[in-house]
Structures are given as C-alpha cells and as structure tokens.
Amino acid sequence: MATMEMRKEIFADERDDNLNVIGKGVQRQDMPGHVTARTRFFDDHAFDGMLHLKVVRSPHHHARIRSIDVSAAERAPGVKRVLRGADVPVNKNTLLSLINFGKDDEPTLAVSKVSYKGEPVVAVIADSEAQALAARKLVRVEYEQLAPVFDVEEALKPGAPVVNETYPGNYFEYHQRFDHQKLRFGDVERAFAQADMVIEERYQMSPIEHAPTETNGSIAAPEHNDRYVVHSCAQGLFFSLGTTAKIVDLESNRLHFIGGTVGGGFGGKVDSLTEPLAVLGAMLTGRPVRYVLDREEEMLYGSPRGAERIYVKDGLMRDGRIVARSIRSYFDAGAYTRLSSYAAIKCTAHLPGPYWIPNVSSDVYVSYTNRCPSTAMRGFGVTAVDFALEVQMDRLAEAANMDPMEFRILNAYRDGDMKAHRRVAKNTALIECVQVAADRANWPLSEQARRASSLGGGAGERSQIPATQLDARGQIGRPDSRSGPPTQVLPPGTMRIPLSKQPIMDGARDGRATPTQVPRYEPQPVAPPPMPAYQPGSQAYQPPPAYAPPPAYQPAPSYQPPPAPPAPPPAAPSQHGAVRFSTVFGTRRR
C-alpha cells in the first residue's frame, strides 16, 4: 500500500486516476503486425552483399588448445574472413562488468583452452551460409583434453580441475574475496538442539533451456554515417549495446541497435551471444554480417537456467512452528559467470521464503563446472529455491501432522516481522493468498486460520533482531579478521579463502568473540564510525561498498573502536561503465 501511495504522489500530475483499464482487455499494439506477418524480427531484414558467420565450437567439455590452423578455411570458396581470439579487441568480458560486478572471465573466442562443449573457438565469414559451413569443417584445432568436473560440490573440493582460470577456486568471488553469499540471523544450531524435530532434505534442479522458437542471432551492417546498425534479438537492447561496444572496443554511439521484437526470450536473450562477432565481422569486412544460431547451437551455446542443488534443514516444533532454517545451496554457473552471480544474490535475498523463522542461516555458492554457462530465466535464483522450500513446507506440515495450508498460515510473514535480512516485513499477504486459494479450491480451513491476518501479530518479539551467532569462520558475511591459522573445522562443502587484502572492520571481533549483541532495528542507518583515512561524506572518496559496515552491525554502545584501524584499500579499478548502484549487490544507496 505504501508503494502505491508513493507512486500516486510522484505521478500525481501525470496520471488519470479513473483506473479505467483494469479488468478490461486492451489490444496489444504489436498484434496487427503479428497476425499479418508484418512484424519484423531481427532476421527479417534484407541486405545487399550480406555475409554469413559460422562458428567452430569445442567438441570437448574441457581441453587445452594446442594449435589452431585456419589456413585451409581461409582459402575456401566464398570465405571473406576467419576470426580468432586475437582478432577480438577485448576478448574477455563478463556481462555485469557494465555495472562493475565480477571479473571479466569469458572470451568471445577461446584462445588457450575451452571449458565447455560448444564454446566458440573460431568464426568463419563467407558469402553464403553453405560456404561458411563448408569452410568451418576445414578449421583444424588440436586439443589436449583435460579432466572435466560436472558436479557443483565436486568442483569446490580441493584439487578439482580448474574450470575458469579467472576463478581458480571454481567459485564466484563476491567482492574479490567471498566464496559464497552468507545470511545469518539468530542461532540455528541452538534452535535445532531445542526443536522437537529436525528435518533435512536435498533438492536438485536440472538446467532448463529456454528454447525460444526464434534462435539467438543478429545482423550487423555498416551504416552510411560511420556507425554500425545491428538488428538484434536482445531482450536488453542497451545492455547488449554496452556489452558489444566493450568487446569490439567501439564508442557506443557508433552502434545503432534496433530490436525490441524478440521471438521468445524468457531470459535466454540477455547474453549478447552473437552481437559482438557480427559487429566485428562487419567492421573487418565492411559488409553486412549475419550470425544466427542453429537449433543445435542454441542448445549447446545458448545459456540455460542454471541447475541448483539445495540443502534445507529445518527445526520444527510439534505445534507447527518452524524455529530454525539452515540452507546450503549451489548454483551451477557452468564454465563462465554470465548472470549466476546475480542469481545467488537473488536466492539469498529470498531466504528463508515468505515465512517468519527466528533463526536462519544460509550459504549460497556459485560453482563453476564444465557445462554450458547458465543465465537469466524467469525468476532465476528464486524459482528453484522456492520449489525446494515449498516441497519442504509440505514435508514439514506432514511431520507436524498439520494441514499444509494451515501450516503456511501459521508460519507466514506478517507486517512488522523482522526478516532475516534485518528489514521489517511490509505489505505481506501470504496469509490472505492462502485463504483465497483455500476458498477457491473448497479446501476447509479452521476458524483460526480463516481469521488470521497479515496485519496483526508481527510486533513484539517477532520484530526484533536476535543475538546472532558467528559462523565457524567468525564471520557474518564479512572478512575473517583472524590472522593465525584457523582452528575450527569448516562445514562440509565450504572452503577457506585466503585474504588478499587487509580487511576493514568496524568492530573488534576476533572470531572467537561471543555472539555479537546487535542493537534493535532502527529504520535510519547510522553513519559509519569515523576512520582516519578518509573523510566521511567526502565527495572525492567513497569507501568500496563491499567493506561498508551494514547498519545492523553497528557496535553496541559499550564497544570501543580499535585504536588504529587499517587504511581502506584503494577502490577496485573500474572495468567499464557506470558506478555501483544497487543494494542488491551489497552496496548501499546514499
């Protein structure tokens, strides 16, 4: 409701408040084009002298490239140009580098090794598709096969084959040092010990291919004004423009992207799979270049929804209350990051599901394997864990001998509840949703469940941040401050990250400290404690957001700041584009 009110204010002079379209069908503006076949998709454009680009792909899951011989292909009939990794101006990229998130890890054309079956190695550009396909067969690539790893947990074990040289631990490094996304709220171990039942299950998803009827592709052509026009299937046209501009090292105003008409995307057309090579081909040949995946390439090279493995362990009371939830989850990124780093953040932000649970713990890993890189797909990061959580909820209801609908109503978030992320739950409506669903399905609910409301019951103890237990590494999602060798045994499946930089800590916790007493929730973030190395609020220097202390961890009043906190490290070098801007990525808006 609050959101609605705010929008009303913001757009007060722009909106007609009669809400006269709700409940009525309104014709889509693109429908006449669809039913007359006049809609132009990226491939529905004709160019004189258009060339066709085809890509030589790795036949191996994991192999070192010993040599590449393109001489026969270059001499083949109709071939205008053969591209190798060295021809790509910026041959390493990661999609979210546009917002400075993650390291460049994926080549456009592989140079020294291939990390999944279908990885692009060489591009052949010829007058006709048939000629490009024929010449593609003449490219000789010598491989030395390497041991692959396909399992997300195997990949994280010491000694596992290194999938992605940029991330030698086979995990995505959050803020250059963390091997996973961590959430801690209360003390799950103590709650498990006191629970009537502890129920642990393992859930495994499969990767899912979007399978749009239109395969990924693009056509790039030199324009009269020293620009390149790109007809693209991209779902995020400017995202694709920025990515392409970086890879081909062209100012973005020399790219004229035309798109918005997508023959089915579902998340599978955000990766700019074809645009950079099509533009590079047009730049190097001076001719229009068309690069369209065939269906097999779409399956091999077009990213799927990443598979996830999720362990859920719950502490349950006989009366149906969930008192603790601990989650360990592994995202299968495939060989390169693409958008999996973001998926794990979304997953963590979603935990523990729409339920108030007083003790929550989660570790979510992004794990590299020798599979096709995975990416966005319809609620990625959330849908799989929701599947796991809701199946788990049914199992818990059964264990508590309760109706599954009533069980959800009992445990649902209510307005005013403190979430595990230390934000107060607002506009909650799960109880009402379940009530409506039960009503429509003629599912009998008890009087008590029918009377339940999201508006009440969320105050008191439920609105407090509990004393939070540090984990075995003395961390709550922050750098380990211990200097000596660790003594505690790590939880299975986790590993220690050697620190590359001296961490900045806002507290004197040394990892052996007793559980930190966190002050009660305050809506307004408190200014960070002053540090001598920079002026708070200075425009010239912003501390790297990764090290900024979250407001919830403000030291208790009795706390004494350390005499000489280390100076903040220099800001991470900007890779490309804009500044960090998102709370989702662990940074704070100011």
């Binding site: 069908g25 014709q27 889509r28 693109d30 429908m31 006449p32 084009g33 669809h34 039913v35 007359t36 076949a37 006049r38 809609t39 132009r40 998709f41 491939d43 529905d44 004709a46 048939a130 979007h210 399978a211 749009p212 009827t213 239109e214 395969t215 008409t261 997508v262 023959g263 089915g264 995307g265 579902f266 369209v292 065939d294 269906r295």
Partner: protein, 160 residues
C-alpha cells in the same frame, strides 16, 4: 554450383528466381523473394514456424526443396489479409490474444487456415490436431485454440 530457375505463384503473384538445387523453400522465400512470413526455428521440421501452403496443403518450407515447387501455388501468412481487411481468423487471433511474441503466429495462422479450408466446423480435438506440428512457447496454446474455434463459427469464415 549452377543455379536452377524456378517459377511459382506466391500469394497470387507470379514469381521467378534462381536457386541452388539444394535450396529449401524457406530460404528461397525469405532471402530470394523477400517474403519474411515463414520463419526459421529448427531447420529440421519439428517446430512448424516455417509452415506455408503448397497447393493448399500445409508444408514445412524448411524441408521442401525449392525446385519441387515449380508451377505450384504457394501461400504464406503475409498474403492472408484481403487488402486492408483482415480475415476472421486473423481478427480472432487478435481478439483472443493468440499471439504473444508473434514468432510462431505466421505458421500457426497458416496451419489453421488449411484446417478451416478443408473443415469449416472443426471440433476442439481437430483444432488441436491441426496445430500439433506448430510449437508456441508463449501462449500455452489455449488462446490459439479458442481463436481458431471462434473463427470457424464466424460469418465469412469459409473465405479463410
């Protein structure tokens, strides 16, 4: 490779072009003649987005050699409308939101058109059967089935 001449009627107009003996009808229509209504989806006859009518029969143009179409009547979705006026089938697709991304729509309309031409009053099962070779990833098919059934009962549907 020597090209071969081929002539056929496309949406009521005589067209002629030269093709490789191995060229399929899909590429010939799209790249040779500029009719972009049939789409490429799989190239192996499994998705139906390239469906066209050859002498009134729905065919997968990606699996049809262009040279075999000599002298035939080819109809695509771009020739469906009667000048500026839409056919009842097209209007029913609009009314029922039977297209979302629109990529399968030309093939879907073509398959439906062939059905209504030979069976003006199909049952729901017959509609489902008629579009069973056309994959749609957006709509879940129900709006498409409803649109075809509506068009079948509309006055003037036989024109389709």
């Amino acid at each position: 490779m020597a090209k071969l001449p081929v002539q056929f009627r496309l949406n009521g107009s005589d067209r002629a072009t030269f093709v490789d003996p191995s060229s399929n009808l899909l590429d010939t229509l799209r790249r040779g003649l500029g009719d972009f209504a049939p789409k490429y989806g799989c190239g192996q006859g499994t998705c139906g987005v390239c469906t066209v009518l050859v002498d009134g029969e729905p065919q997968l143009s990606c699996l049809t050699l262009a040279v075999t179409c000599e002298g035939k009547q080819i109809e695509t979705a771009s020739g469906m409308a009667d000048g500026p006026n839409l056919q009842p089938l097209q209007e029913a697709f609009m009314d029922h939101f039977a297209a979302q991304c629109g990529f399968c729509t030309p093939g879907m309309l073509t398959a439906a058109r062939a059905l209504l031409a030979r069976n003006p009053n199909p049952t729901r099962d017959e509609v489902v059967e008629a579009i069973s070779g056309n994959i749609c990833r957006c709509t879940g098919y129900e709006p498409i089935i409803a649109a075809i059934l509506t068009a079948a009962s509309a006055p003037g549907a036989r024109r389709a």
